[in-house]
Symmetry: D3
């Protein structure tokens, strides 16, 4: 099984981190490849970053669909799940966002959880996703450690310290059974945080890989019946002209 | 007051239709300019189309922000409100999506409404927006006339006939007080449909213009405090490199 | 365009304040007239006050409908939106409550807001309205400055001081982008509070006027199809006998 | 125990029907008195009728509170529960609306129910109440037999025939375990409908009486702590001047 | 009228407490009998305890249905309402859980309430019930006094002290009008707590008895039409073989 | 990895069917063992059956926890997820219900799905689970093919015919992208139905196995922090005396 993990930002170091984290949980028969868009923001910390990155995500899926190395399932490795429904439209394979993956896993091992994300301003993205996915009542609180995303790469010690502090506050105050880490860049911190915090820490990249394996193992792909069917072919203009009369299936 | 109406697709005919519809309801002191992205799909009928068009929308807002003709408010004239929150982040001006505009107006003159959109597959986009905006309980049903968007331009008689049929079914079956038209391409049909159907027909472009005037008239712009503040400047790569170290404010 | 702003309480000073605030945001072609019921409470701070004032509101609308100065839209200028649906039934014109107006505006410029109202006991009215209108998830918290309504008229300095304090607490603690002022009597404080607080302050009277202009500008009136149609004429008794066999349309 | 049943409309025949229905289910130690406002509509079939009748309801409660025949609990016998919260504010006794009473009872003996009311246009009132009380998910459908309220008095045979037809449709189509009758004027029809329909028929007046007995039996009255405390005394003007400086407790 | 109060745990002292509390509020014509399962946990403080006790509850109902002392209504006297829907299936009589009973009563005398239960870990059970019954929005907070259930029997002074402390915190912090006691073992504390706290204290056993009287007084029993009909007879094995080919009606 | 699939009913044939279906999707390193309680109903078609079977489920988990063949994850193979939270309390391993498993999978490959279950009367169980898990908005409709559960074993041809008919109706009428099969006894029908219906058919046993593999692969087990911690040891009486002073961890 070939799972393609797409880092929606363009920071190769983070792609590597994510790819390694994905590989570390993959089943024996699973091959992980990690990619990133050629174009886009180096980190995703706003609706603006997210809108731009969504294009990169979809283009990565399209490239894989047309490539010579067939992909069995995709994981979108940014906690805002950018481009998720668009990506689903252009493939028969399952596509998993890491936020939804982590939320699903969290509800299976606890009755209530909190999210600890990077910046306060991206908390709203997590809140919107919780509402869309149906998990608002299962999440007690969306918290931010106030770490810029790239600090996870560049300033890891301080970042981890702040993360641990915020997770401990969540444990103490939120009446929860688990914590969801709210950033793809935290993919390599699960073990460290689990040890430090003392309750289950759920991370999205690893969760996404296992859900992707699960769906692909069931031969369940994105439904091509109804509103996730392939897009109607049509002209595109300008820098998106290459999507004209899209042929995918 | 200068309101910029952005047609998120790249069909100039539709931009013209939308611009005229916007101008026809504008207050005396309001100047309408209608634009469209240089790049993107000719119509928006899928999550894929929407993801691509969101970039065009945001780039149009950025261009206007940096242009010499200051804009007091923006209207995003596609019923999926593509790029809405991203667009809000990059300006102090208010930004209104036509779906939200129509929903707001509908709740002010009726207790329950239905939506009549183009294609069945885009109904899910309207459903998601209704949930996000809080209007799920006010909308009885999202219906589709099964008209491809561009048929509104290219095959208007048949399109209008189907629209009228679906609106009449909504009136008869849905226990409603108003109908929301679910496509920016229907912007010139409000009067015709109102006459034909016999209950208030709410159209998003015109609704968006009036809400934009309302907000701008109150000197209320997008909050720059909290999660809609300007995005953190950062590097972008590839075809989006021009967004690097964004300076807007 | 003629917008009638109805102050649901019987304090003329407040009617004047509200009328001036309304006029100060009205478009060039808009004429504002402000009235108040002949009968009712001097301020509205309970469900009891609200139930009584609802009659006054509806009677004011009926009087205007039968008067010689045609009204294009009504604004009900008390934050509990008393008599809103009843008022809508007796006119083809749009009728806007200032609470709903402020909530609508707040969702267009921020993702989350808080309400700051007068007395703690009236907070429940705002909570109920938020639920009815669909905005519960957009409002973080309903706060009270614990100011009796008439103190806004009679003891303005202290009232404003408390308001500012509570707004600053909301800004600091609530993770919001905007604040909604929860009382018609605060209509003249918007500018002062905006300056003092540093995020958008949304006030209902001004919001209501602009929404009324918006709807009237679209020729959208209250739906007379379905459950907001004119009431069935019938006998009334006692002090309400004058409503017998109501003829409005 | 003295339960005062208030018919919010001014049709004495309906007051008698309601009073008899109430008495027929009262416990041995319970005395029922049935009253109606001196002023108001002869039936309640619109938001307008409801707003007017709310004043009558509250005045009836106030009159009783000041009267010489102490009341232990109140029932508001119109399916819109007009004036419910206002009435609660002016008494320490429990106050029960017949819509809420019927909904509560329905959820205790079935998992899902439907409502059959009089006119389609009043269905929205039931929908709003279901939302406010938290019972939206327990109610499958609000149906109307399209009977004007007074036809229940004046044209009972046809009215009952239509009611039975609509209840049978609900039984067949709605996947329910019980039916709630949506009008105080149906108070004497419970047995007849139960026999005809073959599933539990829940009627609000009788339900309200038993809930009133239940609360009074527990010595539980309306909370005077918090937002249902007595209204702040204040001046009222005009025809409501008698409420000035209200003294109740 | 014969009301059978079932204490779902097997601690006779608690059955006695509950039975006395029930009898103390029963109407003159009501006879209370209190029982407990022969088998099960001595207290219910977890999902595990609850699952086991549900069997005991249903077996108690079945025993009563087959017994010689006909029962008119049942009350399940544990705040998790264990076995409620199963119990309803096996009888035509109404069956009331004390959690639902208390929630219903609380919404009738206040707009918002809090729950004070025994252990923090059982709070989730109350939260789930609030969601299922539709009362989530009416409850501000589920609190725990951190008292093991049997301490209410064995160490009553300390238990009451902690309860009072937690109730006072709820009164001070939660913006509520009433408090619901979250454990059947608190059935004898209502008066004491009402005096100490100064707002209405709602207790489930007494509430359940009065609701049971109310339903039985209306001749309303569990609907045998639809999903609460008697279970289909079928073989059972092992220790549950006695339920084979169940005949109840 | 050892996954224990527990058939909550006592029909060995169904246990075999479920075990085979589970094994057919298991990953290479996964060993499936399928068991059933010694005591309980032969099929689960009511709340009563479900309450009894929950005990069997928990006892099976306890037996496994104390057994010599360590279990890495449990699947509860009845669509009502009986005993789910209780089972979670008594183990550190993940425990997955097949209803939740199927719902989770359905939301990952479609935006809207319908459920097709056996009997109409058990539809309410699915509805309650959808609400509890947060998936109400993702499910368009819960349908029943009106097949008794054991007919899936004893009368498979007719049962499959009815299932196909109902699934085709769901496909035609419900505006969905996937169908969830609502009974563990349908575990061997997925391929046949997928071929016949033409959209993704999601079955719970297979979904549960893959989610169990996913969680165990992530070393994520049921949270022992908070409300799913091991139950407090305590005395049990009668036929449940063996649970006294439970020691599991």
């Amino acid at each position: 099984m070939h799972i393609r993990v797409i880092n929606p930002n363009t920071t190769r170091g983070m792609t590597d981190t994510i790819g390694k984290a994905a590989a570390s949980v993959a089943a024996p028969g699973t091959r992980i490849t990690a990619t990133q868009p050629a174009s886009g923001p180096v980190s995703i910390e706003s609706h603006f970053d997210e809108a731009i990155s969504a294009v990169g995500v979809v283009e990565e899926v399209l490239a894989a669909e047309r490539g010579e190395d067939p992909v069995d399932a995709y994981v979108i490795a940014c906690f805002g799940d950018p481009g998720l429904l668009a990506a689903r439209e252009v493939t028969r394979a399952p596509v998993i966002g890491i936020a939804e993956a982590a939320f699903h896993m969290a509800t299976l091992i606890s009755t209530r959880f909190s999210v600890v994300t990077t910046l306060g301003r991206t908390g709203i993205i997590a809140e919107h996703l919780l509402e869309n996915y149906g998990f608002s009542h299962h999440c007690r609180r969306v918290r931010a450690a106030e770490i810029p995303v790239l600090d996870l790469e560049e300033n890891p010690d301080l970042a981890v310290e702040r993360l641990i502090d915020e997770c401990l506050r969540a444990k103490k105050e939120d009446n929860i059974g688990a914590i969801v880490l709210g950033c793809g860049g935290m993919a390599d911190l699960t073990d460290q945080l689990t040890d430090a915090i003392g309750l289950p820490i759920i991370e999205g990249v690893s969760s996404g890989v296992k859900l992707a394996e699960a769906l692909a193992g069931l031969k369940l792909g994105t439904s091509k019946y109804g509103d996730l069917a392939y897009p109607r072919p049509k002209p595109f203009t300008g820098q998106f002209e290459h999507h004209s009369n899209i042929k995918i299936q």
